[in-house]
């Protein structure tokens, strides 16, 4: 709005900072999303269901997570046990619901760590360029040369099997919690290294834009530019990346569980429920193998669909290019 011939930025720079690259008007965007992206919406619904199951597991699960009734073991699905029972007589439905807790916790925890670290590394590398970028990228090159699962397994070997209680200051951790913490941290770090490349690319794409120059002209420090100008504008691809990474995290955690290096019994994790030990019994009772795997597949599928839909919606380059 021009007053007395001078241009006054009434928003105080808000326009540039709140995403000059993409415009998000929340509620209307959500409705439009539901209408135009049916698959993504289904994905979103499943994700929501998982989160709710994870939070309200004790209220939703008919039995506990380790409710052993040997007399009732290896039963097929029935009215009493909707998904049947496992080899120790535990209700599979309840264990699958509690398993959502593990997957959600490990998934969101690791992706949160990964996103924060990746953003830091990627923005610094992409924004400053030059020697800093060169050194950081060489280091990243080294780490991504390792196949993901192999490196993950190597870390699990370094940690060993947790047993007994561990004390971290005021907090005491059970073995299963220790293992969960180990997995979350390692997954977070490994994802962060890979994701930092994407963040770097996104940062480099916008670091020469006019509003960044304008910010500098206003006297903004590098830190301020990074946090107030760059970060909000790389948030969309970062969000897409995080969503897709959640699917990967769940797959990684369940793979660890399957191979026997994940979160130990009695805490139910979907991968572990499908593990080698369970496989032997699967020939007697095929239902054992079915449900946890279905849970994993549905969750990962949901995150992938949601991520894809978000990418289609948020990427300004793809909009209107049909």
């Amino acid at each position: 709005m021009a007053t007395e011939g001078r241009l006054i930025d009434v928003s105080g720079g808000l326009g540039a900072r709140l995403g000059a690259e993409t415009q998000l008007r929340p509620l209307r965007a959500v409705v439009r999303f539901l209408r135009t992206k049916p698959l993504g919406s289904i994905g979103a619904a499943i994700v929501l269901a998982i989160i709710l199951l994870a939070i309200f597991a004790p209220l939703i699960a008919p039995y506990g997570l380790d409710n052993r009734v040997i007399a009732e073991r290896m039963q097929n699905p029935s009215m009493k046990h909707l998904l049947g029972t496992d080899e120790l007589g535990r209700d599979i439905l309840s264990r699958v619901i509690y398993g959502a807790r593990v997957s959600a916790f490990v998934g969101f925890g690791s992706v949160l760590i990964a996103t924060v670290i990746a953003a830091a590394i990627g923005m610094v590398s992409g924004f400053f360029g030059g020697k800093v970028d060169l050194i950081i990228q060489r280091l990243v090159d080294m780490w991504i040369a390792f196949p993901f699962l192999i490196l993950l397994l190597a870390f699990m070997a370094v940690f060993g099997t947790p047993f007994g209680k561990a004390h971290l200051g005021p907090v005491t951790l059970e073995p299963s919690q220790q293992r969960a913490a180990q997995i979350i941290v390692i997954l977070g770090l490994l994802f962060a290294i890979r994701d930092s490349r994407v963040v770097r690319g996104a940062t480099m794409a916008i670091r020469n834009n006019t509003y960044v120059e304008a910010g500098r002209g206003l006297g903004a420090s590098n830190l301020r530019i990074l946090l107030s100008y760059i970060l909000p504008n790389i948030a969309p691809p970062l969000l897409v990346l995080a969503t897709l990474q959640l699917g990967t995290a769940i797959l990684a955690e369940s793979t660890l569980g399957f191979l026997g290096f994940g979160i130990p019994d009695p805490v139910p994790s979907w991968g572990h429920m499908l593990s080698g030990a369970a496989r032997a019994r699967v020939r007697i009772d095929p239902w054992l193998a079915f449900w946890p795997g279905l849970a994993i597949s549905l969750s990962v599928f949901a995150f992938n669909m949601l991520g894809d839909a978000l990418r289609d919606v948020l990427d300004p380059r793809l909009r209107g290019s049909r």
Binding site: D141, A145, L149, L153, G247, L274, V282
Partner: protein, 320 residues
């Protein structure tokens, strides 16, 4: 071109060096030391110290590193901490299986994913496209160990009814150049499953590349000249879309190496992945080191190969 290749090759050396440092220090980070890890929590300090000395783990770290790298250059990866067998031999015997598994899996995934990806790009937003995209995402969402388990259980149930008997396990230590029929029957089932899992991402990447190529002006020109769509694709689009597909294939190598771990476990295929899982459960530090190093080297070499192929196929890279 030789200059480009030489340049790329030189860049690989610091990466490889960094990789060896990472592998070495990673496994020295074991809390309590590798010897304690091997002996378990009940080891006395004297036992641990004695084992450390026997295994040469009490020498200065830098010296150990130099010895290790020096040994590597002679093809010696050290001895397994558990049974003192030379690791390079252990890996050499097993890597054939992993290679076979990976190669077949890649072949299957390409056979499935390339045509579907191209077709989905041409008929963008059609029902077929949506179907292809959804199934691609489904394939990469389904954990291979679940798919494999279901296939084995339900498949063997069905096959028993049909009177067939498919062997799903391989004896350990079996030589790779055994009788071809038997060899294939052991490798094809896991390769199919691994291939399916891969085909999801390959299909999506192919589709994206194809879409980008189809938007180019020269495609429009070719069509404007009156050429049939299929001719346009075969003569112009395909060649240019396939170049990034080479990169895509290169990207699958780490996925293949990782995926083979799972499938070798399920099908008891005595490959490198199976060896790794064994070593991890027994915390055989040097063996793990060996496998991790070999895997990383394979990935780096395959990236180099992909870059080289790229420069051969795309003159723009060559003459940059």
């Amino acid at each position: 071109m030789t200059r480009y290749f030489a340049q790329r090759f030189l860049l690989v050396i610091p990466t490889l060096l960094g990789v060896t440092v990472i592998v070495f220090s990673l496994l020295r980070l074991v809390p309590g030391g590798a010897a304690t890890a091997l002996l378990g929590e009940n080891a006395t300090p004297e036992q641990a110290a004695a084992l450390q000395h026997t295994l040469g783990l009490d020498q200065p770290i830098a010296l150990q590193y130099v010895q290790w790298v020096g040994g590597m250059l002679h093809g010696d990866l050290g001895k397994s901490l558990l049974n003192q067998t030379p690791i390079s031999h252990d890996i050499a015997v097993r890597i054939g299986w992993t290679f076979e598994l990976g190669a077949f899996a890649l072949l299957f995934s390409l056979l499935v994913a390339l045509p579907i990806g191209i077709f989905a790009a041409i008929r963008q937003d059609s029902i077929l496209d949506y179907l292809a995209r959804s199934s691609a995402i489904a394939f990469l969402s389904i954990p291979s160990f679940w798919f494999a388990t279901l296939l084995i259980v339900y498949g063997s149930m069905g096959l028993q009814v049909g009177g067939l008997h498919l062997q799903f396990t391989a004896p350990l230590g079996r030589e790779i150049d055994a009788d071809l029929g038997h060899n294939l029957s052991l490798v094809i089932p896991p390769a199919l499953i691994l291939g399916f899992g891969l085909s999801g991402s390959v299909m999506r990447l192919t589709r994206t590349q194809m879409l980008e190529v189809m938007r180019q002006d020269y495609i429009r020109t070719a069509q404007a000249k009156g050429l049939e769509l299929w001719v346009v694709i075969a003569r112009h689009a395909l060649r240019n879309a396939l170049i990034p597909v080479i990169t895509i294939i290169g990207l699958q190598v780490p996925v293949l190496v990782g995926g083979s771990v799972i499938l070798e476990q399920i099908f008891s295929l005595p490959g490198m992945g199976y060896y790794l899982v064994q070593a991890v459960s027994q915390r055989d530090i040097t063996a793990i080191q060996g496998v991790v190093l070999v895997s990383a080297t394979l990935v780096i070499l395959s990236n180099l190969f992909v870059d080289f192929t790229y420069s051969v196929l795309d003159p723009r890279i060559r003459n940059a």
